[in-house]
Symmetry: C2
Subunit: 618 residues, 2 copies
């Protein structure tokens, strides 16, 4: 079996780093192991229930029913939910596939089979499948509304799920459905056919990965067509202009992502795949320029992306209000996907730093500790007296599911495939990008990682099994870290700075390297143009950003009125609390205790803030 | 003829102040005279053109065409614009009527006649008239979509226009149309009929004013029904919940306005009318509590209301980001209407202060100096590198018209009736609330006001004609003013503090009172909970808030990077510039010149900010 991970560049591609599969990197304990357990035991099973309750499965069944009926379906009104319901099914099936690769499950396999069958049965002879169009329009008028119809978007998630299923099962029903659908797209779209573009990218990433899995260049060509023809300023509709659809400027010419955040980062991730497989340096350079501009001017300290509720969109540069932040969970996921692709391509540590920031803050906040509730929007502040209107969920707390339920299954698939993002490796070495206690087993080498990260900065890597050749062990030293040291197998300790700390040697079984990442409490100050948090500091420790919830403020003080005095700043004390929120390190000051941001709203739902004003003296 | 002003409480009502009509208060020179001239010469004529171009008039003509056709209109698709197109016509007709009352015009009268005829011709025999419903639904399914259909909203503006026309013309076509429509509403809605509520208030104000104009209590009763039954939490639809519709909490129990800002303030204005006419102290108290909570926690320094683009809505308390402020021009207008009603009722100077803040900042910014372009959204900051997407107009500058064109005719009617908001009076005295050079002529008294307000704080009031009785002249001393003095006709100068400075005497022709309102440049600091402008100051002088535009920054400094040093603060210098922006007082510092906020975006459209960060020392 080849590499069973989320992104597998072809042998012809020239990435700097080669991914390891999910099965090659196992997380055995600690925070991420807990999250993966909950994902398996709670979230993924809930997904199955919700997809039935919300009508996603029934919609596919209806679509199958009317497949052979040329007339208008009698119960077309029985279709439930928005027009992209199928995509939730696909994302969840992708989660199931990765989860089975991670740790097999008969139950999940039979769910995969059942839902795959529903998709297969709904698919038209020519490869088209979309329950909304098939039910509500009797399958006519396909692609009538490419701008908002999400048909390619649904196909994209179908393909991504099918690739994961193929890596689990080899040939299978979902795989055949996806191939058929992709062939339908190839036959229908492109320079010689329908030259339209779907308003919501994701098909680009999907087609490149399908090319990787099959070697068929027509998929890569179509992905390239979709990427290259975007940016003509023609996609508009439902009151949205080309900016919203990442269509104002071409990918190559974009300076910083704009418009709908999820669309923008999905497109960038797909273009990153393309740049790698086509060895397209100028496209790659454009994407990296965008990444760095985005992280410098449009990203919250939590990693969150998207400042505006209106259009679920990026704001202007430095428009980063914490209270009305949108920071959709899916945008964090898309950014992780983008960064991972560019990390593989370049080996640039900044992408790994970015993934860490996202994973442990603005992504992980998207799911409750219990795994059964989700944030779509990840605000950095909730005020006292906030009005809990229907859809302003930072005020209402995490929800069980959504009318637009993109985020929950996206969280599930990401946590299931998480170990695929931790390490890379090839003959020349092994690179650890994210830290979790676990094992890496790959091409005759086995390493054990022992750590309490992110609660503690000590990371021990022991080489258990190795061949007798020289290879390099690279350990990421995060950009937030000052004073890191590396102790080599000979017991030599040396200071290491941000980047990758490398140890090259002929390894012996039992060799151990220890990375020490000091984690003092830090106070982060924003760029001066971020008006919304002027005069404030965010508390951080290690990779984690902290939040102060009203329930952790001493006395009658409102969290809105909290300030950070010079005394407080000097006395911010980290403390491991094993009984709190599944075990976490809190940071205590004179008047409050802060908890990791991703854990907020797991006890009560109330006022909260990440940015604390400095007390004004004099 | 009675009082020809915008709000005329009945004789049975017990307002503290009695309005004077538009014809009784004439503005003769200065800023507002210029604006009224431009309104007459440019804006109102443009309105006529736009209403033809956009299809508003044609929609009414289509409606007339299908009035007698029981079938489905063949060219129903010929209807143009959104479903509330009629309301723009009505607001513009109201502007025309007030304008003719202010200074008669044969041209405007014939426009009034022409459009009135179109409305009359479109009206159904039973009084119903709504071009959208009549054309697109053949008049069927009236009130099918009360939540978003704006049918009562259109009726409300029809009635308001008709009241203005009635004050101009007495009985006339528009008046009869409105009476007929109102009778239709009375026959259709209420506790014994359809108990639904329109999603967009305004009908409440309109029905009370119609009651005042006719003495028919059924209109007042229906207004009361609409006010009293709102707040049951039942109005929802199109993704909006009761909060959006001011329906989460009853008017009596609301603590601070929430949801869609224009809806909320229109409702409060209508409820204010009701409270006065029904002598309902508890309702009045609820409204005043809301006003003061709103101005304390949800109002921008420009008077602007509504922090969120999403839902055009109020934010939570203290959520007042300057860059993404919505601050719709119509919300400023609605707030002026609300405040005026409560000012009449209570005589509380805070309402007059609030009107001044709104009029000279967040309202007047809504129209260009040239009178031919309009802001719907009145942001307090535009960043460098802001992306000019289609509907983010603070970045694009004022627009000629809008798909949803509520604001332009609303500006026109407000400027036309402006003199109605300046003064009140009765036997006991005359009260001046807003200052403009002009004449007040009322019940045998005539006063001349000489002033360069708002550019200069000296206000001279000369009594030209008077009877021999004692009466009191009250002059508002604005809350922003420190060190005001009043010089009485005997030449006695005394310090006066915020509130009303009164002079009671037996006046003689030629008696003169001089109010001196010192106008040093001030720096305004926001409440500490307004995170978005922490560490900043807004420049103000007199009633005007200032803005710094990129074009007025010295050298290559971006307005985004501007700070206010201790040196700057000490050296802020006001200067009258007769050739700039129609003549205005600028405020100059070492590195920039600030212009009155309402005048921004009249030269170039570019980065701008109202709130300036203090330079951080040390």
């Amino acid at each position: 079996m080849g590499i069973a991970g989320p992104v597998v560049p072809t042998q012809e591609a020239q990435p700097t780093l080669r991914p390891l599969g999910i099965a090659n990197v196992r997380i055995t304990s600690g925070l991420w192991a807990d999250r993966q357990r909950i994902n398996r035991e709670v979230s993924i099973p809930i997904g199955s229930t919700r997809l039935r309750e919300a009508g996603n499965l029934a919609d596919l069944e209806l679509a199958a029913k009317y497949l052979t009926d040329p007339g208008r379906p009698a119960d077309r009104d029985a279709y439930r939910g928005p027009w992209f319901m199928d995509s939730d099914v696909y994302k969840w099936l992708e989660a199931v596939s990765w989860e089975c690769l991670r740790a097999d499950s008969d139950e999940l396999r039979s769910e995969l089979e059942l839902f795959s069958k529903a998709v297969e049965t709904a698919q038209h002879d020519d490869g088209y499948v979309n329950s909304y169009v098939q039910v509500t329009r009797a399958g006519r008028d396909r692609y009538r509304d490419l701008v908002m119809g999400h048909e390619h978007y649904c196909f994209g998630h179908l393909v991504q799920a099918a690739v994961a299923a193929h890596r689990l099962l080899g040939d299978c029903a979902l795989w055949q459905v996806a191939l058929h659908a992709a062939d339908h797209l190839v036959a229908t779209f492109g320079p010689d056919g329908n030259d339209g573009l779907d308003g919501h990218p994701v098909i680009e990433m999907a087609l490149v990965e399908l090319y990787r899995e099959t070697g068929r260049t027509q998929y890569l060509d179509l992905a390239q067509h979709f990427v290259e023809t975007r940016g003509r300023g023609t996609i508009r509709g439902r009151g949205r202009d080309p900016i919203y659809f990442s269509d104002r400027v071409s990918v190559r010419e974009t300076l910083v992502p704009e418009g709908h955040a999820v669309r923008a980062v999905y497109l960038a991730a797909g273009a990153s795949d393309l740049a790698l497989e086509r060895d397209d340096d100028s496209l790659a350079a454009a994407l990296d320029r965008q990444w760095h501009a985005m992280t410098a001017t449009k990203q919250y300290v939590t990693g969150g992306l998207g400042s505006r509720w209106d259009g679920e969109a990026f704001g202007d540069p430095y428009e980063l209000p914490p209270d009305v932040a949108y920071a959709e969970t899916c945008a964090s996921i898309g950014a992780i996907q983008w960064a991972w692709r560019r990390l593989l391509a370049t080996g640039d540590v900044r992408f790994a730093d970015g993934i860490e920031q996202l994973l442990l803050n603005g992504f992980l906040s998207g799911v409750s500790l219990s795994g059964d509730a989700f944030f779509y929007v990840n605000a950095l502040q909730v005020r006292s007296d906030a009005v809990p209107d229907d859809h302003r969920q930072p005020v209402n707390g995490r929800q069980q599911w959504f009318q637009t339920a993109c985020c929950p299954p996206n969280v599930m698939r990401t946590i299931a495939q998480l170990s695929g993002y931790l390490a890379t490796g090839d003959d020349a070495g092994v690179q650890l990008h994210q830290y979790a206690a676990g094992e890496i087993d790959f091409a005759g080498r086995r390493l054990t990682v022992s750590t309490d990260y992110p609660w503690d900065g000590r990371v021990e890597v022991t080489v258990d099994v190795t061949d007798q050749r020289d290879w390099t062990l690279s350990l990421r030293v995060p950009s937030w870290c000052v004073g890191a040291t590396l102790t080599d197998p000979d017991g030599q300790t040396t200071p290491v700075s941000a980047g990758y700390a490398t140890t090259r040697r002929t390894w012996q079984p039992g060799d151990r390297v220890v990375l020490e990442l000091p984690m003092p409490v830090r106070l982060i100050e924003a760029h001066h143009r971020v008006d919304a948090v002027r005069g404030c500091r965010a508390i951080a420790r290690g990779p984690l950003v902290y939040a102060v919830e009203q329930c952790d403020v001493v006395g009658a003080l409102a969290v809105d009125d909290l300030t950070l005095g010079a005394d407080d700043a000097a006395q911010l004390t980290p403390r491991w609390e094993s009984d709190l929120l599944g075990g976490c390190v809190t940071v205590t000051a004179r008047t409050f205790t802060a908890v990791p941001y991703f854990l907020w709203a797991n006890r009560t739902v109330g006022p909260m803030r990440v940015w604390l004003p400095l007390a004004v003296t004099g």
